[in-house]
Subunit: 408 residues, 2 copies
């Protein structure tokens, strides 16, 4: 058999009963004929991305869905952000995600996002990249908006350091300390980097221009989310697939890169509510000509959930349903499509929650269950039962016929 | 969000099909409009308190339901009994539950419960409390009826000792041995305590009076259920709640105390079939004015199960249903109520069993499933699926909105 599979992760899809939607969730409320068709013809159930009640991040949930135990491989967001924007994070490196921020003369944070700066951060990053801090080198790169990533490379660095970012305004920048000698070396380099970043950025022409325009200067780089490169095996070798991924955020792209997946950017895939999801659907279908396994993440639903915009979430779900229709029409009858979420982002919460998410699996030779509606309540009692994120790869690769027998 | 939650643990609630009840369980047979309302409006499922088929004790099940792995933290019942009656059990102490028993002149046990003695045990306990055994001190306190608890405190005591209690009548008191040098020190102190208890109690006026009245004397203290203080973190700090517990047995009160919970006695809450459960319901509702998390255990159902009294169990369940009604009427629309059992105590067994128990969860913004009856069979196929005891705290605190995100 040469069967193929697509995992469509609708970011933050799950939700709770919303009074303004007649007590329905956005997914139950939305008109989703294609998702319902997949649920009707295939099998469905509920999935705990990590475990019952565990509030998953997008990163930890994707690690689980791709077959890894996040409690083992996840040390922090930094290395995933760095890898996601194309930086190398090698064994022994310590990596951070970074905000360009604004501090006053007393190193008190006045704006954690430097007025949500959007331009010139590439020049600011260049001014910091390659900084030598004793025997440690700092690699720095900008990401979207006020964000960036920092990789510290040098002998004997440990990851157990406290934050320099106070995580709120009107608080001073903190001094990092390490909990062991190797981590104290990291803390020393980190503290030196932060002080030097303030000196370098304060005089930078980009900031002089911002101040002249009355905007807060991006006059310091504040790292957080410390972590080390995860010890993971290439996805293709582990699961006997030829994989590709289409994702809309650097964080998930970083996970794909660590796993050795082919990471492809689709023009028009913005990660927002305006994302061209039909372009992504076409790219997914096209990629099957030379890949057997596709990971696709669409982010807009999560954005709407974080903003507590139930109607925007409904609209985004209906647009994604169209894209699912294009995928169902485009794939052959030897291809599976699994649709689920990495976590719930209930509009009433405005953030991730630990609720179970719906999952449905469509493809050849499945024994259909009684589920006819792809929604949080509609999938209860489906043939998949209650699975966990780490079950997804075994379930899918089993159906693809690429698994080894355990035993004889 | 400042949401609150109540866990109502109906002790030993679960049961099996009983011919005398038309093949129904006591819960299915009972008239329970309030529990059914909670199940209808909320989500339901089945719970394995520890694992499928594992016969849970009340103590191990409550540890699991409160978020701990009982295989890690449970060493024996002694420390929970001792803490439950207000004794200190410190790190390094070894604790036992104890029966006042009757032995003959050859130290053969003739009555393990000393004629179910109910009076004078406080005086007997005082005569034993503070006994010096070399460098080990024995602390002793009476509990209800023929029961008490013993705490041994001294340098280098180990918990791995064999029983002195033969656990049946017409057998001699045993000599305890330890499996390592520290535990042998405990065994030596334990053996000395038992011998001394016989000498002291035989001449005690309480026993002289009992013998004069033709009752068996409580002429020996027989410890069992050895254990050490569990290594647990305060519940409030772990789960970000402000907790209180209303329980009817010393054993569960001891767990509450170890977890730093506010443990409150309700007048009329007897732990028996006559318990004033409406008083408990009122106390639970009132406690929400200054707490965010309530644990409530009602014991009568377990008593009826141990006594194989199916009809008494039905009556107790119907009384508890009234109390549930009072709770549902008393709480606001930001409060969750989870109802379940710590284990089944089937009338046909007359003891605990490893069957799954029903669970239902009522509260704001839940997407209702199709369950309309709170019973062992009625909850099958509910949205909670099949959970385990250790899932309860994550599931509940997720809904309360007090959980940290794992990842980003």
């Amino acid at each position: 058999m040469a069967r193929k599979a697509i995992l469509l992760i609708v970011d933050g899809l799950g939700d709770r009963a919303i009074p303004g939607l007649g007590g329905k969730t956005p997914l139950a409320y939305a008109n989703t004929p294609n998702l319902d068709r997949a649920a009707t013809l295939g099998v469905a159930g509920l999935m705990y991305p990590i475990g019952p009640g565990v509030v998953a991040g997008s990163d930890t949930a994707h690690l689980a869905i791709l077959g890894m135990d996040p409690y083992e491989v996840y040390t922090g967001r930094g290395p995933f952000e760095a890898a996601g924007i194309g930086m190398d994070v090698l064994g022994g490196d310590v990596a951070f995600r970074v905000n360009f921020s604004t501090v006053d003369a007393n190193m008190v944070v006045t704006d954690r996002r430097a007025g949500r700066i959007t331009e010139g951060t590439d020049q600011l990053a260049q001014a910091l990249d390659g900084m030598e801090l004793g025997d440690v080198t700092a690699y720095f790169k900008e990401s979207v908006a006020h964000r960036g990533a920092l990789v510290l490379r040098g002998p004997a660095l440990g990851p157990h350091v406290t934050d320099v970012d106070p995580h709120e305004t009107n608080k001073p920048v903190l001094t990092s300390v390490g909990s062991d000698p190797a981590s104290q070396r990291t803390a020393d380099a980190l503290n030196a980097f932060v002080r030097r970043s303030h000196v370098i950025l304060s005089d930078h022409p980009v900031n002089k221009a911002r101040e002249a325009a009355g905007k807060p200067p991006a006059n310091i780089a504040l790292p957080r989310g410390v972590g080390v490169a995860p010890a993971v095996a290439p996805l293709d070798a582990t699961w006997h697939v030829r994989s590709v991924c289409f994702v809309e955020t650097a964080l998930i792209a970083g996970i794909g890169r660590y796993l050795g997946m082919n990471v492809i950017d689709v023009p028009g895939a913005t990660g927002g509510l305006d994302s061209d999801v039909l372009a992504t659907a076409r790219a997914v279908v096209d990629s099957l000509s030379c890949h057997t396994f596709v990971l696709c993440n669409i982010k807009g639903t999560d954005v709407a959930g974080h903003d507590s915009q139930a109607e925007a979430k409904v609209t985004m779900i209906e647009r994604i349903d169209e894209a699912v229709g294009a995928v169902l029409d485009g794939i052959d009858d030897e291809t599976f499509l699994l649709v689920t979420a990495d976590h719930s982002t209930p509009c009433e919460v405005g953030d991730h929650s630990g609720d179970p998410v719906p999952v449905c699996l469509y493809g050849p030779n499945l024994v259909a269950d009684n589920v006819t509606e792809f929604s949080e309540a509609g999938v209860v009692g489906g043939a998949l039962g209650w699975i966990r994120g780490v079950d997804v790869m075994p379930v899918v690769t089993n159906l693809m016929g690429v698994r080894y027998k355990f035993g004889a």
